[in-house]
Symmetry: C2
Subunit: 167 residues, 2 copies
């Protein structure tokens, strides 16, 4: 396999993986492209490589910057903007985890707390509902807090975590 083919395969795979996890394909592809580029890339180049429109490129770059995993860069004497990806994988994972927690887990937790707090516990059915949703709340909260711990762990948290688990 030659470089160009490998590069394409990687970008496509990353894109597919993204959509399976609820991240749009182009966003994941742009990120993939930036991850493996050794220098900042212009929007023009991204459009060209991925064969996408200017609007699409612009919106997804914006989204990636909102997630904090892609940065804008300015080159001296250049009018255009260039983009680079967060390349440190520990940092990348932490940022993605943080963002998904904020956008999806936290709001879900709020709802879980609400619905598990209903008053009436007359029937067995209602008791079971309260019991199950309470357990779910505890579980999700614990899992979410674990993600926060990852951040505190800092540098190479994954490696350290695996070590802890092993022993």
């Amino acid at each position: 396999m030659e470089f160009k083919e490998a590069k394409n395969k990687f970008v496509q795979t990353w894109g597919a993986l993204g959509s399976q996890w609820g991240i749009n394909k182009t966003m994941a592809q742009i990120h993939a492209l930036l991850m493996i580029s050794n220098q900042a890339v212009s929007m023009e180049d991204i459009m060209e490589e991925l064969q996408i429109s200017r609007g699409n490129a612009s919106m997804n770059l914006r989204a990636l910057m909102d997630w904090g995993i892609v940065y804008k860069e300015y080159k001296a004497g250049e009018r255009r903007e260039f983009f680079t990806a967060e390349k440190d994988l520990d940092e990348l994972a932490v940022k993605i985890a943080r963002e998904r927690s904020k956008r999806e887990i936290k709001p879900a937790l709020k709802i879980l707390k609400e619905v598990s707090s209903i008053e009436s516990k007359d029937s067995a059915e209602e008791k079971h509902f309260v019991d199950q949703t309470s357990k779910l709340y505890d579980f999700v909260l614990k899992a979410d807090n674990m993600l926060d711990k990852m951040t505190e762990f800092n540098e190479n948290w994954l490696g350290r975590l695996v070590l802890k688990i092993m022993k």
Copy 2:
């Protein structure tokens, strides 16, 4: 908030969370419904509660059973089939993790290994590609193995994991 409202809110929220994570809404909703039901539910009842077609119910129940998080049940003297969800959350998380690993992570790892093994490392660009994809391979492999460890941990792995991380 009364029971019926809370129940509905929970099912809707679980459905929305599902689609954000690449699991189709109905599948997540059926699962939610079964999670909070204290007894096995017939397909007819699921269709009625969620206002969905027979085909939709059938296909998504099948998918949930393929994931190993919903079971068929037969009641004595009843022709119809009934369904129940895996209600143990540790078990649920492990099964979901296992399934996603098998379906998505493992195939992605295979590709990562492939593309990080290209021969030519002439240019700095190619060197960076090989370096970055290799690192990604290692990272994803480590994360995936961690999921396997969860299984070995068995009962209440999440609680124990949090304890380990804390200290």
